[in-house]
C-alpha cells in the first residue's frame, strides 16, 4: 500500500532522512519510533506530500506521491486521516464543526453530515461537548475530536504523529484503544511515538529510526532504542 524507495530528505546539508526503504501493507498497524529529531515526522510529511524527497520516491498504492500536481493533492489527502500531537483543531469552530469540516471539504451533503457527525461524537464519547470550542476542551477531549475528524471520511490510512505526546496516561490509554479498534475494523494505521508504553501496548510492527536511518524493522516488536 505504501512504499518508500531509497528516500533521502535533506534540509540544506543536513539529512533528516537517509536512504530509507520500507513498505506498509493494507490493514497493518505500524509504530515508527525514535528519539526526537530522528526523522519520524519528516517521514510522515513525505507521505502526506507536505515535503518532497531530495532523492528517492514515495508511493501510495501505485501513485508516486511526488508526481501529484498541487491541484490533485487534496484528492490524495482525502484518503488519509491525520492525527496530530498538538491536535490542530480549528480554534473558532466547535467540536461538531471541526469534525463536520472534514466532511464538508470532501463535498459530503448536509444530510450525511447531520447523520455521521453525531455518530462519530458518540464513538469518541464526546456527544455532550459537541458545541464546545477547542479552548473549552481538555487535551484528551481535543485529541478524541482530532481522531473523530481523521476517521469521519473512512480513510484508507490513518497517520498519527505523536498522538499521545501531550496526554496523561489515562487519555493515552484511551487514544491507543480507539486506534486499535479502528485498525481492527480494517484501516491501516501508521503512528509515530517515543512512548514505550504506547508501543508495547499496541504490540504490532515497530520500525526504529535513528538519525535519519532505519535501524530496525520488527514484525511484532517492542520499544528498543
Amino acid at each position: 500500500m505504501i512504499y518508500f524507495d531509497k528516500v533521502t530528505k535533506k534540509y540544506g546539508d543536513m539529512a533528516a532522512l537517509e536512504d530509507v526503504t520500507l513498505s506498509v501493507a493494507p490493514k497493518e498497524f505500524v509504530s515508527i519510533v525514535g528519539h526526537s529529531g530522528a526523522g519520524k515526522t519528516t517521514l510522515l510529511k513525505l507521505l502526506l506530500a507536505e515535503e518532497r524527497p531530495t532523492e528517492g520516491n514515495v508511493f501510495f498504492e501505485s501513485v508516486d506521491v511526488n508526481d501529484l500536481p498541487s491541484s490533485a493533492l487534496h484528492h490524495y489527502r482525502r484518503r488519509i486521516g491525520m492525527v496530530f500531537q498538538d491536535f490542530r483543531l480549528i480554534p473558532n469552530k466547535t467540536a461538531y464543526e471541526n469534525i463536520a469540516f472534514a466532511m464538508e471539504a470532501v463535498g459530503r451533503t448536509d444530510d450525511e453530515i447531520k447523520s455521521d457527525v453525531p455518530y462519530i461524537l458518540e464513538l469518541v464519547n464526546l456527544s455532550d461537548k459537541a458545541l464546545h470550542f477547542p479552548s473549552q476542551l481538555s487535551g484528551g477531549e481535543k485529541q478524541r475530536i482530532g481522531i473523530g475528524r481523521a476517521i469521519i471520511n473512512q480513510p484508507d490510512l490513518i497517520v498519527a504523529d505523536e498522538p499521545t505526546g501531550n496526554l496523561d496516561p489515562i487519555n493515552t490509554y484511551e487514544v491507543v484503544e480507539i486506534l486499535k479498534k479502528i485498525n481492527e475494523l480494517g484501516t491501516t494505521i501508521i503512528i509515530t511515538t517515543h512512548n514505550k508504553g504506547v508501543v508495547d501496548a499496541i504490540g504490532k510492527r515497530v520500525i526504529t529510526i535513528d538519525r535519519g536511518k532505519m535501524v530496525r524493522d520488527d514484525a511484532e516488536g517492542k520499544y528498543i532504542l
Binding site: H74, F84, R88, L89, F101, A102
Partner: protein, 310 residues
Amino acid sequence: MEIKRMLVGGWKNFARGGAVSAATVLIMTVTLGIIGALIFLSALLSFTLNTIKDKVNVSVYFVTTASEGEILSVKDQLEKLPQVKSVTYTSATDALAIFRIRHANDQSYLQPLDELGYNPLDASLVVNAKDPSEYESIVNFLGASPMLSEGLPGQGGTSIVDRINYKQNKDSIDRLSIAINATRTVGFAVVIFFAIASILIAFATVRLAIYTAKDEIVVMRLVGASNAYVQGPFIVTGVITGVAAALLVLLLLWPAAWYAGVKTTGWFGGFNLASYYGSHFALIFVILMGSGIVLGAVASVLAIRRYLKA
C-alpha cells in the same frame, strides 16, 4: 452547496474573530475614511478650480454700427464651438445701464456721458471657455472668420468687431492655465499617494489577520480541502470586513461632513461638504462600498496565496 458553506464559514470566521475582526474593521475604516476624505478633497479642488476658471473670460466688443442680428449670429457661431462653455450677450443699452448703476455715485463719470448725448458703449459678447487654455483658439477662430474680419457676406466693409480684450489678459490667462494644470496634477498625485498608502495599510492588516490563521489553513489542507474551499471563507470574511468598514465610514461621514460644512463653507468659497455629501451620496456609497469589497477580497486572496503553495 459549496458556496453556501463558504458564506456561512466566512460569516462565522468574522463573527467569532473577536479582537482580530474588530482591529481589521477599524484599520479598513481608516483606509476607507482616507479614500472618503480624498473624494471630498478632489471635489473641493475641482470646485475651486472651476470657480477660478469661471472668473476668466474674454470679451468681444462690437462696433456701434453692428446690428443686434449680426452680433447674435456671431454668438450662435461661438456657441457651436466645442471649446466654448457659454457666451453672454450684453447690448449697448444694457452696457450703458450697467455703467450707470456701477457709477451711480460718481458724477465725474456720468456727467460727460450725459453731455455726449448718445451711447458711446459697445455691445459685447462675454465668452467663457471650458478650459482657459482654449481662449487662444477661440480668438483665432474669431480672427479667421470672414464675417468678423470683413463684415457680413454681401455687405462688404470692415469688421464688426471693435476689439477683443484677449491680448491684454493673455499673460494672466496663460499663468492661470499653468497654475490650474499644476494644481490638478499635484492634487491627483496626492490623492493617488494617499490612496496607495492606505490600501497598503489595509493589505498588511488583512495579511496579519490571515497570518494568525495559518495553522488552521494547513489543517484544512491536510484534511483534504481544495485550495478554493480553503480560500473561500477567508475571502468572504474579507468582503464582510470591507462592507462593515464602508458602512461605518458612510455613517461617520454624515456628522463629519455636517460639522465641516458648517465651519468651512465660507472659507471654501461656498463649497459645502454636507451638501456635496448629500447630493453625491450614491456615488460616494458605490466608491466606498466597492473599495471595501475589492480591498477585502483582493487582500485576502493575496494574503492566503502564500499558504496554499505546498
